[in-house]
């Protein structure tokens, strides 16, 4: 078993990518920017990921994030996070960071109604054969 920091949890690279994508969209960033930030997030060490999450959460920082994406188009690097490791994959994410991202991501979910639960995903209540 992998040792874990207290209150932190290991998140897979795919989970980090997915959560940041939703968080960025939930925070009001354009989809294309969210997509780039999601890919970036997977390469960030924990403190940089925390910083990214805080920037996403703050609308006043969005222009900076957008500009950094434009910059990255030209240079291949994101200037805001220049000690990026090449490593991707699962790692510890601070609970505070994950909580912030999840809260923003939740803004993209549509609350339940009986109608949506029944018909939206296409399967009946009882599906056995």
């Amino acid at each position: 078993m992998v040792a874990r920091l207290r209150d932190d949890m290991i998140r897979s690279g795919a989970e980090i990518r997915a959560e940041v994508l939703k968080a960025a969209r939930g925070a009001g960033l354009p989809l294309g920017v969210a997509e780039d930030l999601a890919l970036l997030a997977e390469t960030l060490p924990d403190d940089d990921l925390a910083r990214l999450a805080q920037m996403i959460a703050e609308p006043a920082r969005h222009d900076t994030l957008i500009e950094a994406c434009l910059d990255q188009d030209m240079t291949g690097q994101n200037a805001l996070f220049d000690n990026v490791t090449a490593q991707t994959g699962a790692r510890d994410v601070a609970e505070a960071t994950w909580s912030l991202l999840s809260t923003l991501a939740a803004r993209t979910y549509v609350p339940e109604s009986d109608t949506s639960r029944q018909s939206g995903a296409g399967a009946g209540d009882i599906d056995n054969d």
Partner: protein
């Protein structure tokens, strides 16, 4: 010989008429297992007399050891459901990276049955669960207990003992990221780990009924029993969110087809093979019956049309020039299903010429913005590739009738009716055609370059990237309006499932289908059969 154009291939209706081919992922995996003389052993069988407990199967592939840990629990009948919001299942599985020790087995036995409610480790490669077929499972056990084989008709009609309702990979719930296995021999192809898991689960279901019944099941019945799967529209957005992958799969298949259409002639053995396979496919079609009336009508039409294809093959037409090209042209007079089935038939005897293409089905790349592209070139791409999207009136109710979204409960992808229910303001960005139309309007009269445009219009970043990507990857986009009244998610599901190698599509609605995987596939001890089980017929040898 040119590839079929994407304008023709990347349409929902044709994608929704897909059939499995030898290039599909499960057949590709099984050929690889055969090539490596893989043997499956079962070092742990802790299943009690009621069929509950756990088991471990293990094998070595490409120098790595993998194990399936299967956990079987007692599930009350009224709790059995295929919905992703279910909370309990008959069986749960982890494909483990290595051979699990007792502590790891105990961990998996405790957590696998909880599925999404538990966290997993990077040693857990795949997470899955399956429910028993209520129609078949206990009938098979009862027959075996009585010293008999189960009713052949029932086995033929059902085709599986259990049905998976999710097969999770790539980092979900803490399991291993795909990167962990992406470079490994044998598992580097798309969904290979998932396919391996399903094939191993199938073997477990066979072992389980034999254990409970106390007798072996006859081989031809066992072969016919694949693994069912209930697929809901949660799988559909994947095709949109992975454009390079979709393009790779399509390019491989269409390249294979083009390569074969260019063959100037066929040997007598090859013609014989085509006729034999067409006959088997006809039997497969006879055995494919579904409750949905519209789908059943399509199958019956296909049976009739397939007789015409067989008639063509039995004539001296295959002796002509470029016979596979002539065959595909002949099929064009029939339904899309017939055309796509003909494609699959054409590929089947020619593994030596096309199997190598499967190495191109995976891609590590992500779409990127090309800032150097002149805006006029971008406009040109839109005019050429997206003309169909520019003409759509998205204010018309039928063109914007649906919206994709993610539910709060279990974060399940769903499809809603925009004008009938709340939530459209949170819609998921699958409205690609509408996004590109909006991009096109903003580009009108804009002077400057791509970076300048994206600075002024960050809201078009995603669409711009998709347009640029399509220019280099012509099969990366579905060329239909995915929010239209007419969009049927099942077309997307069937396309992806056919690439997996699934057959016996059994639609329950326009957004939910059952399928069977690995029906007719080699059992653990007969991988030498890995090359010839496409569209199997019951009892074929």
């Amino acid at each position: 010989m040119p590839l079929r154009p994407p304008q023709e291939v990347m349409r929902l209706k044709r994608m929704g008429a897909s059939f499995p081919t030898r290039l599909s992922f499960l057949p590709t995996l099984l050929r690889r297992l055969r090539d490596e003389n893989v043997t499956v052993s079962r070092p742990v069988w802790e299943i009690d007399e009621n069929g509950f407990g756990h088991a471990v199967y293990t094998l070595t592939l490409g120098g790595y050891r993998y194990s399936l840990v299967a956990v079987s629990n007692d599930l009350p009948d009224e709790d059995r459901t295929d919905r992703v919001i279910a909370t309990a299942w008959d069986t749960a599985y982890v494909l483990y990276d290595g051979l699990p020790d007792d502590a790891e087995i105990a961990r998996i036995v405790a957590s696998a049955p909880k599925q999404e409610a538990a966290r997993f480790s990077p040693r857990d490669l795949i997470l899955s669960r399956a429910n028993k077929s209520v129609r078949l499972f206990s009938r098979v056990v009862e027959a075996l207990k009585a010293g008999q084989q189960p009713d052949e008709d029932l086995v033929r009609q059902t085709g599986y003992l259990m049905r998976t309702t999710a097969v999770y990979g790539n980092g979900k719930f803490g399991i291993a990221d795909r990167a962990v296995i992406a470079e490994r021999p044998g598992l580097s192809g798309p969904f290979m780990a998932e396919m391996l898991t399903v094939w191993l689960i199938r073997g477990f279901t066979h072992d389980l009924v034999e254990h409970l019944g106390g007798k072996p099941l006859s081989r031809h019945l066992t072969r016919h029993l694949g693994i069912g799967n209930a697929t809901r529209l949660g799988m559909a957005p994947c095709l949109v969110s992975h454009p390079l992958l979709l393009d790779a799969w399509m390019q491989v298949r269409e390249t294979a087809l083009a390569r074969l259409r260019a063959l100037p002639d066929l040997s007598p053995e090859e013609v014989f093979d085509l006729r034999r396979l067409a006959q088997r496919a006809a039997r497969h079609l006879e055995e494919w019956n579904v409750p949905d009336a519209a789908a059943q009508a399509d199958i019956e039409l296909l049976r009739d049309e397939w007789q015409e294809i067989r008639r063509w093959l039995e004539s001296d037409a295959p002796d002509g020039a470029c016979p596979l090209d002539a065959l595909m042209r002949h099929a064009e007079r029939y339904s899309l299903s017939c055309q796509e089935l003909t494609l699959a038939l054409a590929l089947e005897p020619f593994g030596a010429l096309i199997d190598g293409l499967t190495e191109c089905q995976a891609t590590p790349f992500h779409p990127r913005i090309a800032p150097e592209m002149p805006l006029d070139a971008l406009r040109q791409h839109i005019a050429q590739d997206w003309e169909w999207a520019l003409d759509i009136d998205f204010t018309a109710p039928d063109q914007s009738a649906q919206f994709w979204y993610v539910s709060e409960e279990k974060q399940e992808p769903r499809l809603g009716r925009r004008y009938d229910e709340p939530g459209a303001e949170l819609e998921s960005p699958l409205d690609i055609a509408r996004q590109v139309q909006a991009l096109s309007k903003s580009l009108d009269g804009f002077a400057g370059d791509v970076p300048g445009f994206l600075r002024a219009h960050p809201e078009h970043r995603a669409a711009l990237r998709r347009v640029q990507t399509l220019g280099r990857h012509p099969y990366s986009e579905i060329r239909d309006n995915l929010i239209a009244e007419t969009c049927r998610p099942i077309d997307m599901l069937r396309c992806k499932l056919a690439f997996f190698g699934a057959a016996k599509f059994d639609p329950k609605s326009d957004r939910w289908t059952r399928i069977t995987l690995a029906q007719g596939a080699p059992l653990f001890d007969e991988l030498e059969r890995a090359d010839d089980w496409w569209l199997p017929a019951f009892g074929m040898t």
